[in-house]
Amino acid sequence: MIKENLSIRKSDVINRRMFIIGAAKIVIFAGIVARLFSLQINENKKYLTLSDKNRIREWKLPPTRGNIVDYFGNIIAGNLKVYQLHIIPEQVENFNYLLVRLKNLLNLSEKKIQKIVKLKNKLKPWDSIIVSENLSWSQFLKVNNYLYDLVGVKPVMTISRNYPFSEMYTHVLGYVSQPNEEEILENDIVKERFVPGMKIGKLGLEKTLENQLIGTNAIQRYEVNAYGKRINQLEYQKGLQGSKIRLTVDTEVQKLSAELLSSKAGSISVMDIYTGDIIAMYSSPSYNPNLFLFGISQDEWQLIRNNPLKPLINKTLSGLYSPGSTIKPIVALSALENKIINPNFKVKCTGKTELYGQTFHCWKEKGHGFVSLKNAMKQSCDTYFYEIARLLGVDRLNVTAKKFGLGEKVLGDYFDNEKRGLFPNTNWKKNNLGKGWVLGETLITGIGQGYTQTTPLQLCLMTAQIANGGYKIKPKIIVNDDPLSLEQAKNSMELQSLQKSNTRLFNDPKNIRIVQEAMFSSTNEQFGTSYRSRIDDPKYQFAGKTGTAQVKRISKRERELDLKLEQIPYKDRDHALYVAYGPYKNPRYALSIIVEHGGSGSKAAAPMAKELFKLIIDRDELRDKQSNFENINI
């Protein structure tokens, strides 16, 4: 019985203590339920978001670049479907076998194979390796035929930049290619939208207008597992194509320019003298921008790089040339404006002139005799311009030249390879060369030699501003949102002629007319330097000025020899230049032509103008119709 009692006492203790922890247990379970409640009910949204963040990953696809079209809506930089071949390593059963098969199918080089193997080791197994960025259609078919045997290979259709006119617009558009790290970091938009395989503008407008052209990424949302492997696609969000850019250029004129300059080094620029629209801008030789899209081969690159005609240089914008006699209209205008001479001022040309014991030759050894301004311009008499330059002085000449756009960038920031050129004055020489100006230098500046350096586009702008009656225009290559119509442009110029504004480049409109007439005679009157290239039909009739820029000082012996062009080594031949505008009666377009080492302007450059004006003026009406572009469907 005692034992029984003890046992009962003990069980009392047990029961009592059980009760105490039983109470604790309820409290603790309640605590856990409370915690569950706070996580699952109160903070559900937060954790749901976190869970989605975990499982959903976005894949950006390369954006589609905006098209670039010419004035008539022809696509000059577009997009093309390309066929690519990707390998997804984790799906491949036997990598070596696959490589051998692909090597035979596509004629891959040993180097390429090694590159693929390297990539495979670097990338995650579910990242695709791009074997070929641009398969030909027949290759694509071949791969598709053998697909059953090529496990892990994925033929992909994607979009790539394409330049349908290949080398025609290279110096205007530039090209796109894969960016390097620096280029990605430089541009925030590129940085944000960059995906492997995306290409960016490397040069020209493709580069300058990158942020407008680039477009937005298409986005694929995938559910991924903890290791980042894609499980299934949830959503596809289409990207927006980059903006369409319309240029002022006319492909037909551009084409003709390219033809005229084929196998020559040089440049042709054509400009609307009222609106400043650049109709054509071609630098020869050019190269095919499509070569750069998928990485240019070493051989092709060397071929371009080592071409003695220097296709990589955009001669229109960064080629610096002595303007030669094409500067003479500006010299004449400056002399008239500064009232140094009147139109009847005459100089006797004996073929040379002497200054402080130095002889300055006219191109015509026998001399021109007594010449007036008009005749001097017409026959490009150097002695006459030596004389008026001497009377005018370089500083006054410099002011006029600057007004007409020499020594300044024409297109501003659109091309980072555009050069300013140089038009000297006395201060410039003192500051930059540390020497005083010598009068002899004024003389040669007066015939466009010496320190003066101009780009072909500057000469074109200069001519356009003479042609429009002496008004400053803003050259442009992109059609902006609010383009100036011809009437508006003319009206604003008329308005300017009444008031003295800084866009009016003359004091007396008569002076401009005198220069225009002189240029007319140079082309359309007998003995004019470009008389042989004239068009008599007033519809096409144009006025111009030839120029022949010396590359090298002519020695006395050479002068006596009077060598034929073919007898002079290519490098030493003169550059041929020609600036002109037309139609003379109602001018609309100006152009500048330069043929490097082409010999004389009248023989090498002026004949091209004839061809160009025929085409440009024929297309004038068409162009006017296109001005209200947005209403026309392309």
Partner: protein
């Protein structure tokens, strides 16, 4: 005397069946089915390795539990010390010849499955101490010899388990043992004093922890200090549970587990997956199921005539309670991560074996609740 003799005599098979606690049995069956479904979900909705293995363990251990239930509780009393001693031997064995995995040595290969003796120790220590307090005179409970004896019963296996190293299981062994001490009548002030001593020496104890264990504590205090490293498990676990919401993402639709964001989803973090797929409602339901099981065991203890049965049932009930609390607190970010399975739900043979033995003994206590033990 006659009556007692009759009571002490063996019950017939039908009497045993009649005395079986069916509520508890059904709860265990429901829990097993839930565990199978969840295991099926961890396999990504297919019957793969874990599901098959879990199922085969249930198939073996559930009948074993029934078998144990039909044994008289008296036998467990008789062999309690021996059982403790045998498990102790196994612990000794694994600490020298055990299988090593991920830096610890706590398993032995039994060909059919890999046994973790420390899990069995959780039951053995309760059996052993229950027998001790059943037999000792109540006056002697707080004597120095008694205290030293029971403390060594707890300490010796704990040292072995800590050195494996396995902090989680050793903590659970200590707690299981302490519960029996508490129920056995050890003075409250001893508990209070030791708690105070423990808290004071806590920083000192922490300095003895292994670097990875310290890291777990640091991570617990601030999971965001290393979200992809040490804090990853707890952050992902909280995301899974939290994103489950009221009614869960649906069976087999838990993205966190399906997409492999959940670590250890078969074992210690099984509740996370369950909670993600079945939400707050499912989680509370599971807690209720566990609560019913625990109270059922307590009820059996209360019904039992022998103090051995009482002590065992109460202690076992509270052990299960502690396993659950430690596991859930861990996955809910309330405690540092210590390895501790969720009874029956978690994948793992030893834990299930120990739990099923415990349930078996409890059921036996129910069948023999009128049994007294001398």
């Amino acid at each position: 005397m006659f009556q007692r003799d009759r009571l002490n005599s063996e019950l017939s098979f039908f009497q045993k069946i009649k005395e079986m606690d069916y509520t508890l049995l059904i709860c265990i069956i429901i829990l097993s089915i839930i565990s199978l479904l969840v295991m099926y979900s961890t396999d990504g909705g297919e019957i793969l390795y874990h599901t098959k293995s879990h199922f085969s363990k249930l198939v073996v251990f559930f009948p074993m539990m029934i078998l144990i239930a039909f044994f008289n509780i008296r036998h467990w009393h008789t062999f309690a010390y021996l059982f403790y001693f045998l498990v102790m031997l196994l612990l000794l064995y694994v600490s020298f010849f055990g299988l090593k995995a991920s830096g610890s040595q706590r398993w032995m290969d039994l060909y059919l499955f890999v046994l973790q003796p420390s899990e069995l120790m959780k039951i053995a220590i309760i059996l052993c101490l229950a027998k001790y307090y059943h037999r000792i005179k109540i006056e002697n409970v707080n004597s120095l010899t008694s205290i030293i004896f029971v403390l060594s019963i707890i300490t010796i296996p704990t040292i072995f388990v800590i050195s494996q190293p396995d902090l989680g299981t050793s903590v659970l062994i200590v707690l299981s043992g302490l519960i029996v001490l508490w129920l056995g009548g050890v003075r409250v002030k001893y508990f209070v004093y030791s708690l105070i001593t423990f808290l004071i020496s806590l920083p000192f104890i922490i300095s003895f922890l292994k670097p990875y264990q310290k890291l777990r504590i640091l991570t617990f205090l601030d999971p965001d200090r290393d979200p992809l490293g040490a804090g990853y498990q707890i952050i992902q676990s909280k995301i899974a549970i939290g994103s489950g919401g009221l009614d869960g993402k649906g069976f087999l639709k838990g993205t966190q587990s399906y997409l492999d964001f959940l670590p250890e989803k078969h074992t210690d973090f099984i509740f996370t997956l369950f909670s993600e797929e079945f939400g707050f409602i499912g989680s509370v339901g599971l807690l209720i199921l566990y609560t019913v099981i625990i109270f059922r065991i307590i009820r059996i203890g209360a019904l039992s005539r022998s103090n051995f049965s009482k002590l065992f049932c109460f202690s076992f009930a509270f052990s299960i309670f502690i396993y659950i609390v430690v596991n859930l607190s861990m996955v809910l970010g309330l405690l540092p991560i210590v390895g501790s399975p969720l009874p029956i739900m978690s994948y793992g043979g030893s834990s299930m074996l120990a739990t099923m033995i415990g349930f078996g003994i409890v059921l036996s206590a129910k069948i023999n609740h009128k049994q007294t033990i001398a």
